[in-house]
């Protein structure tokens, strides 16, 4: 039962190579809403299974999770497609829920871990939506294909910047506090895993900067000047901005549990 439980958890809090299934599935989902649903729900069965198992995962599984997280963080550096990048980042982030569950001082019972998973997933919902929007406006959400979006689609670019910042664990979003707590609690038990987590964090920053540069920086491409692609409406941008503010407040809220 335990082995099967861990296998199920390893599928939904994806460990390599099971993680390939999630990314394949994501690539096959054509609709934005279904992708967003996938980001929202995928890690929750894994969290539930860890709660049911009710024991600290073995050390080798934690190292497996850490290695998966590094693998996808590194692979994200070379990715130019926003949907694919979002999938890799989600895989890398969710894998870190294993050490969060094992070392976190505030994860008893599974509810806190479920909230953390939700906090980590929230930026990916926004990014999935933005990727869909870019695909419909530009034909593809591919970094470098048509840069300079800051000039042609400023509101969309602003949200993309916020989404990427949240995805790479910038304070004070929930992801920052989850990573901070996981690193700090992992440190006395397994300094090696703590070091891997901070390395992953560094790789996220690098890949985030690369993906942003591919989209928002540069001269506006010739096609966009001829009129294709329309920016977000003011109301939609404000609503999404408010959602981001709520995410920040949730981050500050989640931080209260850290001590």
């Amino acid at each position: 039962m335990t082995s099967v439980g861990y296998l199920v958890a390893a599928l939904f809090l994806p460990l390599f190579p099971m993680s390939m299934l999630f990314n394949r599935l994501l690539a096959r989902f054509p609709r934005v809403r279904s992708r967003m649903g996938l980001f929202l729900l995928w890690p929750q069965p894994g969290v539930l299974m860890l709660a049911i198992l009710g024991e600290r995962p073995p050390a080798w599984m934690l190292w497996w999770a850490a290695a998966t997280s590094v693998l996808y963080a590194l692979r994200g550096v070379a990715v130019r497609d926003l949907s694919l990048w979002t999938g890799y980042m989600a895989t890398s982030a969710w894998a870190l829920l294993w050490p969060a569950a094992a070392f976190g001082a505030f994860t008893e019972g599974g509810a806190a871990l479920a909230w953390q998973a939700l906090g980590l997933s929230a930026p990916f919902l926004l990014l999935a939506w933005l990727a869909g929007r870019l695909e419909s406006e530009l034909g593809a959400a591919y970094a470098g294909m048509c840069g300079g979006l800051a000039q042609t689609l400023p509101r969309l670019s602003g949200l993309l910047v916020l989404g990427v910042l949240a995805a790479v664990g910038t304070p004070p979003v929930p992801g920052f506090f989850t990573l901070l707590a996981t690193t700090i609690h992992a440190l006395p038990a397994s300094a090696g895993i703590a070091l891997v987590i901070v390395t992953v964090w560094l790789l996220w920053a690098w890949s985030g900067a690369r993906i942003l540069q591919g989209f928002v920086v540069g001269s506006a491409c010739a096609d966009s000047e001829s009129g294709f692609g329309s920016d977000l409406g003011v109301t939609a941008a404000r609503l999404l901005g408010l959602a981001f503010a709520a995410l920040v407040l949730a981050g500050i809220g989640i931080s209260g549990e850290m001590t």
């Binding site: 300094a191 540069g218 850290m258």
Partner: protein
């Protein structure tokens, strides 16, 4: 009064948000909100500094239950004033300088947020708040440096900065983790109090907690203050707007010195960490200065000049002169900020008139025409070596008569002596009608600088660390065995004097044809001109990592 510490951080934050919200309606006029907010912030920071100078006791404000503690102490009051004053100057300067740039209100919003993050950093009273502020500064600097959204090169180098800063965030995070686990609190005053009572606490792998945490804090400071091997971002970030360069060189890059001062109670319990902080600072100061001399790009030269200055600042921390490092960052902030903000006007004026007076100094430095008649060299050598030493010792004796008990003070005196002697050595051959008058003027200036520097740095020392016993403990933590210290001082003196004699001998005898050192010298120059290949190595390393990532993606079929 403590509540004002929170106000001083919240004001620029609120001004930034208000400017952003008002921008669609008010357009460019929305930046007035930012300016008014900054004036108010600076006024309140001045009030805080005034009350700290008046001797108001240390206090704190709690914005949250487990974190969000803001400290009111001499260091936070002084730094808050420095940050807000520099930020106000940059704000005012930017009103006209950035007027033609797209994203005008966005620039001011980012400036406000950066000011808020810096003020949060200097007043952070717990590790989580400090980590948040430390992290946010890197992110905001990335967007400020990359303000021109059309410039790929600006963003490329802004990303270098971001990565170096993130690299520096991580050791601070690990240090925070170790301290939290040892004492079960995030509060900095509580942690320092625990450290004072149990300085020999052990941490991971049986390592001494104080030394391990201090080394990690030092590493975080190195990344932020562009110490050697973590410096490449600094000379390359000149593509950003000039006001950002001014803010960065005058304020942000000094954060390393601030961090070491904030953790002073940690450093006094260490054994040897300050020595390698001194070493890193020394290497950075030397390499930064050498690289600056070899650059033909004025902006890069300014970048390396800042690197050299940061090396000196960290070196001062390494010898235990913590408050001197704060004075240094203050003074460097003022002169480097003035240089950057004045650069545009100077260039514009220089196009009309170079403004260089064709006087004795010009003929000596530019035309390299030394005086034909020289004074007796033995007399000049005696003046060169003895006078700066006498002035320095007398000036320091004014403020502390136990001067030679503090190794850090002796090292700083040594540097002062070398600098003063070098000044006299290089100018005594200037073409002038009255050599002794010139020498008198030089010595007079030198005396004013030394006495001013000594008195002001002593005032900083007394203000920041009022407890004399604590000041002695800082110098004690930076000290080494007295025998080794004396040997090193004598050795360094011999090296310097030998260098002077060699330079004098070379000038007296001239050069005849190719010498065996020429090839070596040319090789060294090539190495320095290419900035020791450090940036190239990093670029290759990152390209290799991207290559590996791409191959992995292809191998795993992008899933």
């Amino acid at each position: 009064m403590e509540g004002l510490v929170a106000v001083v951080f919240l004001l620029p934050l609120a001004a930034g948000i208000a400017t952003y919200l008002a921008a669609p309606a008010l357009k460019r006029d929305s930046v007035r909100i930012s300016i008014v907010g900054m004036v108010a912030t600076c006024a309140i920071a001045a009030l805080l500094l005034g009350s700290a100078l008046a001797g108001k006791p240390v206090g704190e404000v709690r914005l949250g239950a487990s974190w969000g503690v803001l400290l009111f102490d001499p260091l936070s009051a002084l730094m808050a004033f420095v940050v807000s004053a520099i930020s106000l100057i940059v704000h005012v300067y930017s009103i006209r300088y950035m007027a033609e740039e797209p994203g005008y209100p966005r620039f001011f919003v980012l400036l406000d947020l950066m000011t808020a993050a810096l003020l949060l950093m200097v007043s952070a009273g717990d590790l989580i708040t400090l980590l948040i502020a430390w992290h946010l500064i890197g992110v905001l600097l990335y967007f400020l440096l990359g303000h021109d959204m059309t410039s790929r090169s600006a963003h490329r180098y802004a990303a270098w900065t971001l990565l170096t800063y993130r690299f520096g965030d991580l050791p601070l995070l690990l240090a925070a983790g170790l301290l939290y686990h040892a004492f079960g609190t995030w509060s900095l005053p509580d942690i320092f109090s625990h450290l004072d009572s149990v300085p020999d606490t052990r941490t991971l792998f049986g390592l001494p907690l104080a030394d391990t945490a201090a080394a990690l804090v030092g590493l975080a400071a190195f990344a932020r203050s562009a110490q050697f091997l973590l410096h490449t971002w600094l000379p390359y970030t000149m593509s950003g707007p000039t006001p950002v360069s001014a803010l960065m060189h005058a304020g942000i890059v000094n954060a390393g010195g601030f961090l070491i001062n904030r953790f002073a109670p940690l450093f006094v319990t260490t054994h040897g960490v300050l020595h390698w902080i001194f070493f890193v600072g020394l290497v950075t100061a030397v390499i930064g200065s050498v690289l600056m001399l070899a650059q033909n790009d004025i902006k890069k030269a300014l970048g390396y000049s800042t690197m050299g200055q940061m090396g000196f600042m960290i070196m001062e921390c390494g010898v235990g002169a913590f408050s001197l490092a704060v004075y240094h960052l203050f003074a460097h902030g003022l002169f480097k900020g003035t240089l950057f903000l004045g650069a545009g006007g100077v260039i514009s004026e220089a196009r009309k008139d170079d403004g260089v007076p064709k006087d004795d100094l010009y003929t000596f430095v530019i035309e390299r025409r030394p005086a034909r008649r020289r004074q007796p060299w033995l007399l000049m050598a005696a003046v060169t070596l003895a006078v700066p030493a006498i002035i320095l010792v007398l000036a320091h004796w004014l403020v502390a008569n136990d001067l030679f008990q503090k190794q850090g003070a002796v090292i700083l005196l040594f540097f002062g002596w070398v600098t003063g002697a070098q000044l006299i050595f290089s100018t005594y051959r200037m073409r002038t009608e009255n050599t002794w008058r010139l020498m008198g003027m030089i010595l007079f200036s030198f005396t004013i600088v030394v006495v001013g520097y000594t008195l002001i740095s002593h005032a900083f020392d007394v203000f920041l660390y009022p407890d004399p016993a604590f000041r002695d403990r800082i110098y004690g933590a930076a000290g080494i065995d007295i025998l080794w210290f004396d040997v090193l001082v004598i050795l360094m003196t011999l090296v310097v004097v030998f260098g002077w004699l060699a330079a004098y001998y070379a000038e007296q005898n001239g050069r005849h044809g190719e010498t065996r050192f020429d090839a070596l010298w040319r090789g060294f120059y090539r190495l320095v001109a290419r900035e020791l290949f450090v940036a190239s190595l990093y670029a290759r390393f990152s390209a290799a990592l991207v290559g590996i990532a791409t191959r992995l993606n292809v191998l795993l079929r992008w899933s």
